[in-house]
Subunit: 426 residues, 2 copies
């Protein structure tokens, strides 16, 4: 039994390592994800409107207003509470959403394709700094920026990447890792590399100087986390690749909806294993404390699922200041501890300070349960109150152990059942 | 005596640390440096045409052809040999030139101003990959690219930075250092940050889509060392700031002309102390060996003079592969060894893997002579043959000790003379 899990895990890891996610377009969610009618996606495991946290409700109000399904906040709240909007996790559609993760049909999403496994992942474009729908804000200026992204940024980027051809994200992320990004809470280098790659194609695709300048300013000013969207899409294609390995005990999803933390495992398809979402311990911006913090939220833990973020702390001395003061030695220790719960290293993502040793990759629920070490998740913290919708700090989330235990038990049952129902003798 | 040198060195270091070099423009050398008539600047200490290495002669031919002073290579060689061209080191004009460092009047130079000390430094824009005048090439396609830089890139960048306002280079370099650049042989992050900073202003300054695209392609394609020019200018302003500290034993110039390595010291003005330039031990590109290599060349050792490059190896695991395989531990050891020959650390340039400790800064000829440790200089290697003009590898140059000894002796004599002629008793 254990042997077959080991083989399945090896296969899952190899599939992840073979994936070559490339950025191919930016399309409305309706087109890219088939999200039609009054339907919204959200971060984390499934959750009904009644149980949602306030930041997620705020984001839903923002996207309902963007879509024109309601005229004001009260109408939007009433509509959302009426049950007339179909709600589903981003992960149910091959999408991933940072923070609240709310995606509506007209919202443009970055499209990333993995030609090796024929899979696709999508996520929306981060809004920059200040109040953001992503964090649960729905003020008029927030909607204005969303409209600019929808009507100007999205189409321009689509034309540019379509004309230039697919952009290999593994290569870009390998470069950014060598530049101190762990690609979850630090994407400053990756964002600069993205701008470097797309600036000339954009100049050709958007021959209107003022619009071009506006798009470039959006990408280059106070928007160092812009690339997170691309990174999450790439990571999701890696996770989708793992899903093809039957019987594997590797984690394919870790996601939070602000109320619950949930995981999925390659050998168990789309079954969720959940527990209450933790509070994030970290560094708060001046004027904010843990009392203002919503519990852990967002699909961005796909980065750790893929072997970056908290797994790659040793590559990113600069992220230490962002997530709260560890020494570099502790960062190296974190990466080494993560190696105890993973089945391999990603040779594409060598860590310079470890003389090129790859980032620990492929979280095995068996190892998590055996060691008691849970994945270290680097993450942003959002304000818990309705409508505030902004980042108030960042830190390292320590997810609950229980979902890993539950998944392991379920995997054992499934294996037993599979063995019991096996008709072909070996 | 030693006390007064110590005070002078403290002052020199403080002046360097206070400098705030900012990019302000791109102008023809005639305008920025007052380089008029048949005059050329070159890298390193002073050298006559007869003694120049072949790469430098090749670069002179290229720039003579660019200026239209000759119609072909033979005419250019004859003119250069005739003594009718005034030749002087870049450093004699507050300029710095990577590799051959040849600057002609119409060549556009990046202009960097330090408003704190009222100084200015200039250097020409790197040409990208392949054969380059910078490395000694003078083929027609090399001249064509120089014309593109002169006629299109330079003016466009000037308009963009003029409209946007000065770009603070200390801030940019601090970010790039956290992204694994040591700013001598690795400028990949700094170049991406430069593109990020100037892309939107360029879109406004150059409203012709095809030219804009061409300029952006030039800056973003196979041109990861582009920022070296800006880094060298910033470093030169730091060195110029040190020159104001009378009696200091800190090194203000280390430069090589491909035949000799030379230094200058703050307390001794523009006196050069030279010895034969070393060969560089390093990693050669496939098909090339040390037999093809010209001895050490270029003003780019201004980076180490400023406290980056080889001094900051611990910040740049990624440069190890470029300059030949050290382990990260050895890189850390190099930076710690450099701290033995410097008088301080630059708090603006904290090194992440050393928990933010600054890069060793302010090379003291006394400490060099005492310890026998010479500065580790990261550098590119050019082909020694006339007209080849391309990079064939990179490595770490170990400069000769003698110039440091000679400078120390001269400093002792100057101090003695100053003491002997002092008329005001203390």
């Amino acid at each position: 039994m254990s042997r077959s899990i080991r083989a399945a895990n090896r296969e899952a890891l190899e599939r992840l390592l073979r994936a070559r996610p490339a950025w191919t377009g930016v399309l409305p969610a309706a087109e890219a994800l088939g999200l039609r009618g009054r339907a919204l996606l959200h971060a984390g495991p499934p959750i009904a409107w009644e149980r949602m946290c306030e930041p997620m409700r705020g984001a839903i109000v923002a996207l309902v207003l963007l879509e024109g399904w309601a005229r004001d906040v009260d109408e939007a709240l009433a509509l959302a509470g009426s049950g007339e909007i179909a709600l589903a996790p981003c992960h149910s559609r091959g999408a991933v959403g940072p923070m609240t993760g709310v995606i509506s049909p007209s919202l443009p999403v970055v499209v990333v394709d993995d030609p090796v496994h024929g899979t696709r992942a999508c996520s929306y474009i981060g809004e920059g700094s200040g109040p953001q729908a992503k964090f649960g804000a729905h003020a008029p200026e927030v909607l204005e920026r969303l409209r600019f992204i929808r009507d100007v940024v999205g189409p321009a980027l689509h034309r540019a990447v379509e004309a230039e051809g697919p952009l290999d994200l593994v290569n870009l992320m390998a470069q950014a890792l060598a530049m101190g990004d762990e690609m979850h809470m630090r994407n400053a280098a990756a964002t600069a590399l993205l701008v470097r790659a797309i600036a000339a194609p954009l100049a050709r695709a958007l021959p209107e100087p003022s619009r071009l300048e506006a798009v470039l300013r959006f990408m280059t000013r106070d928007n160092d986390q812009l690339f997170l969207t691309w990174a999450m899409c790439a990571a999701k294609t890696g996770a989708l690749a793992m899903e093809g390995a039957a019987g594997s005990s590797l984690v394919t999803v870790m996601a939070r909806n602000g109320v619950e933390f949930g995981i999925r495992v390659a050998g168990l398809g789309d079954a969720w294993f959940t527990a209450p979402a933790p509070l994030v311990s970290g560094a708060f911006f001046p004027g904010f404390t843990e009392a203002d913090a919503n519990p852990d939220i967002g699909d961005s833990a796909i980065m750790e699922t893929y072997g970056l973020g908290g797994m790659a702390m040793a590559a990113s001395p600069a992220v230490l200041r962002i997530v709260g003061g560890q020494s570099f030695a502790e960062a190296v220790a974190t990466t080494q501890r993560m190696a105890e719960i993973t089945v391999g290293r990603n040779p594409n993502f060598g860590i310079g300070a470890l003389d090129g040793e790859g980032s620990p990759t492929g979280i095995d629920v068996r190892r998590v349960v055996e060691t008691g070490h849970v994945p270290a998740i680097n993450t942003a913290i959002t304000h818990r109150r309705f409508g505030v919708g902004r980042m108030i700090g960042a830190g390292i989330a320590t997810p609950p152990l229980q979902p890993f235990v539950d998944a392991l038990v379920a995997l054992g049952r499934a294996q037993g059942a599979a063995a019991a129902t096996a008709v072909t003798p070996r």
